[in-house]
């Protein structure tokens, strides 16, 4: 089998990440439109067999696995060698990955080597009926425009897809598919970049993975007031994000920052507290499914984006809200 639609499934410590299943949702739709099979690619070490089967249960027809020590953690050179092997062997028509720190590093590197077109951070993927080309839609210029891009003559058509921009594919009963283990020559798995250590974020912040984000802005006034935000976040099982102001003042660390010079997020629910909503902040969160804002200023820009907002003092509103949510 050559051609077809392929996704890059991402793993961490041998377990597949949620974005892999979101990509399956995209892939299932595209493969159906193109009437072609759907493949999934896994790079890692000791990836759980159940997880590989889960890719098939959730929509993949074929899973190609490279399992080797040097692939345990992402490094661009060995991962690119394996990806280029898949491209050469299976000649994908379409190849998509998550717009994660991994995908946004690996894909542009591979696209050059494979002489392929690549579109970054897409929020919409479709097939153009007349030509069967992939139509890739993405926000640009800080979300001021949506651009649709295609790759008419180069294959594979490559794209990274914004995490959380689609739900993960559910399991379907009775699905079958093949799992193929491929080997890579050891010398092609060497990397000039080595990972020496890893330090996990202290309060398990993973904004990219969070369904609900409570974001705090300058309205919180000082770091000593942050426990209020954390209490709300905890009640909702949410991650805590921050505007640039809050990070620049040292109240929260950089991994919390959302916006142009921080992270771009797309959660189900975004709760902005004391966030004015600068253009730079909005660029990082406007694709959230539902947006809620609490701010003292009725003219705050954030309200223009919000589905629901409360104009009021956050030090009154948030405690009352926590109480109501807890009961």
């Amino acid at each position: 089998m050559t051609g077809g639609v392929w996704i890059l499934a991402e793993q961490l410590a041998g377990r597949l990440q949620r974005v892999s299943f979101e990509l399956l949702t995209r892939g299932i739709k595209l493969a159906r439109q193109r009437a072609c099979p759907l493949g999934a690619i896994v790079f890692g070490q000791g990836v759980a067999a159940n997880d590989l089967q889960a890719l098939i249960d959730c929509g993949a027809d074929r899973v190609v696995v490279f399992d080797a020590g040097p692939l345990e953690h992402f490094q661009v050179e060995p991962y690119a060698a394996c990806m280029l092997e898949v491209i050469e062997r299976y000649q994908p028509e379409i190849l998509i990955a998550g717009a994660t720190t991994l995908g946004r590093t690996l894909m542009p590197y591979v696209a050059i080597k494979a002489n392929a077109g690549l579109t970054a951070d897409c929020t919409g993927l479709d097939i153009e009926p007349q030509t069967n080309n992939l139509l890739q839609t993405r926000p640009a210029i800080g979300g001021n425009i949506m651009a649709t891009i295609k790759t008419p003559n180069h294959r594979p058509q490559m794209a990274t897809v914004r995490p959380h921009s689609t739900p993960p594919a559910p399991r379907q009963a009775g699905r079958t598919g093949e799992i193929i283990k491929l080997d890579m020559a050891f010398e092609r798995l060497t990397s000039r970049v080595q990972r020496e250590a890893f330090e996990a974020n202290p309060d398990k912040i993973n904004l990219a993975d969070a369904d609900v984000i409570v974001a705090v802005g300058r309205g919180i006034k000082k770091a000593q007031n942050l426990p209020l935000i954390y209490e709300l976040a905890e009640a909702l099982g949410a991650a805590v994000g921050a505007s640039r102001d809050v990070v620049d003042r040292g109240w929260l660390s950089y991994p919390h920052q959302i916006g142009l010079s921080g992270q771009t997020v797309s959660p189900q629910l975004y709760i902005a507290i004391g966030v004015s909503g600068t253009i730079q902040h909005i660029a990082g969160m406007q694709t959230a499914k539902t947006i809620v804002a609490i701010n003292r200023d009725p003219e705050a820009n954030i309200f223009k984006l919000a589905d629901m907002g409360i104009v009021g003092d956050l030090f009154e509103v948030v405690p009352a809200l926590i109480e109501k949510i807890k009961t």
Partner: protein, 266 residues
């Protein structure tokens, strides 16, 4: 242990003042101030810090229309030593594939580099693909989302990389392409002396022929991707706004919001 550093920068429209032509759905660039891509300032500052620690020379490279020379002058006014502008009709319409080919050609032309620094992405295109693309064209290692450049040795460097779940500590062989995030530095403002120097410094302008580039890999025709449509996203949200004035409205508003949040989280 002096280091040769190249910083790749882009001149972008100030996205804070971008306006849309509602009728045609295109971006109005006229009258919009052009600035150095804000995320490139962190790369410029990181380069300056490295020069202060280790000595060496920094060259800023940019590709763009003739007026992009202003971006290079701004970098020089912050303290960058030299600038090089890639400017040629053959470059016009290049996507990230073709842009990284041209920039890689310029880096090869300059020669003998230890570290190539790039901002995480440009705030107009928002792709972040050019940094890793340059590494691929030059067949160099690349570290992205770098938040700290800890040390540089003779042949290696030690970096911290900010990923979704935490920070990786990496060692990389030189030469290396490094793309940086905001946390890496706190960009300085241009100085008066820097501005004076920036006005006087000769900035070479290089064409595709100067760099001996294959023109079939440049510009619109050399770019694998095509923009087929641009639209302004419609704001479809309808905002329900509740105002707190007293105890009763506080109770009402928070009750309604709690119900809305609980419903959304289901």
């Amino acid at each position: 242990m002096e280091k040769r550093i190249i910083v790749c920068i882009k001149q972008t429209p100030d996205t804070r003042s971008v306006k849309m032509d509602e009728a045609t759905g295109t971006v109005i660039r006229e009258g919009v101030p052009a600035i150095v891509n804000p995320l490139d300032l962190y790369a410029i500052e990181a380069a300056l810090n490295l020069r202060e620690s280790y000595g060496g020379e920094i060259t800023a490279v940019s590709m763009g229309p003739a007026k992009a020379i202003e971006a290079l002058r701004e970098a020089i006014s912050m303290g960058i030593d030299n600038g090089v502008l890639l400017c040629d009709g053959a470059f016009a319409g290049s996507d990230t594939w073709a842009t990284s080919y041209a920039l890689a050609g310029a880096i090869k032309h300059l020669g003998g580099v230890d570290i190539i620094l790039c901002g995480e992405r440009a705030t107009d295109g928002d792709t972040g693909q050019v940094g890793p693309g340059i590494a691929a064209w030059l067949d160099l290692p690349v570290a992205t989302y770098v938040s700290t450049i800890e040390t540089i040795e003779k042949k290696t460097c030690r970096l911290r990389r900010c990923v979704e779940t935490g920070y990786e500590t990496l060692t990389a062989k030189l030469p290396v392409v490094v793309t940086v995030v905001k946390e890496v530095s706190n960009p300085r403002l241009p100085t008066l002396r820097g501005k004076q120097r920036a006005r006087q410094v000769d900035i070479p302008i290089l064409t595709a022929d100067d760099l001996k580039l294959d023109k079939s890999k440049l510009g619109l025709q050399g770019s694998p991707t095509r923009v087929v449509k641009i639209v302004k996203p419609k704001i479809t949200r309808k905002t329900t706004l509740l105002t707190v004035k007293n105890e009763a409205t506080l109770d009402q508003a928070t009750g309604a919001l709690a119900a809305f949040i609980t419903e959304t989280c289901k």
